[in-house]
């Protein structure tokens, strides 16, 4: 049954306090959620545009690795990738983002199939090692 809350009595006071607590918390949650959502949307749009740009660029074999790295949110991974060689990054992104085969990459970079695959797997191993074990350093 509906009872009017006149703010008198312990029960009503507690209900009012709880309501204001919930209202404030809900508004904070909403704010945080919206901030996160807009931040994520910003990244998603810029990455999409970036991929379009890369798509166009790849026809000229001009692959801008560092612009892809700049999209990475994880600071640790960003730091690791920044330290890698340009050619290794090219191989990594060609394989992971563009889904090129090792034959296609090897013809683009002018290396043998084996050399490209070796570089790729070494790179993956290195990233894994530094990413998982890097926190202790």
């Amino acid at each position: 049954m509906f009872e009017y809350n006149d703010g008198i009595g312990i029960n009503n006071i507690i209900q009012n306090q709880f309501t204001s607590y919930v209202t404030k918390s809900a508004r904070n949650t909403r704010l945080q959620y919206l901030k996160k959502k807009y931040k994520r949307m910003q990244y998603e749009i810029s990455l999409e545009l970036q991929l379009d740009y890369i798509e166009c660029d790849c026809t000229n074999d001009d692959f801008n690795n560092f612009s892809i790295i700049d999209q990475i949110e994880n600071q640790h991974l960003y730091k690791i990738l920044k330290e890698q060689k340009e050619i290794d990054l090219y191989i990594l992104f060609s394989k992971v983002i563009k889904n090129y085969t090792f034959e296609q990459i090897s013809s683009k970079v002018g290396m043998g199939y084996k050399a490209v695959s070796m570089r790729y797997y070494r790179m993956i191993k290195k990233i894994k090692k530094e990413f998982l074990g890097g926190e202790d350093k």
């Binding site: 009503n12 709880f18 309501t19 919930v22 918390s25 809900a26 909403r30 959620y33």
Partner: protein
Amino acid sequence: MNFYDILNNAKQDNQDAIYNILNMYKPLLMKESIVDGVWDEDLFQDLILTLINCIKKFEI
């Protein structure tokens, strides 16, 4: 049963009491989960979690 008792029961993980409070505050959560005129289900879920957190943290 008054609000004090319901809240007290909810704090002791009584499912019915929690459900009761959720129903009481549902209009508020619905209102807060509307973004640009569109109801956001993810936000609504977040707000339900917030309300459950509030029940646990609120000191009587």
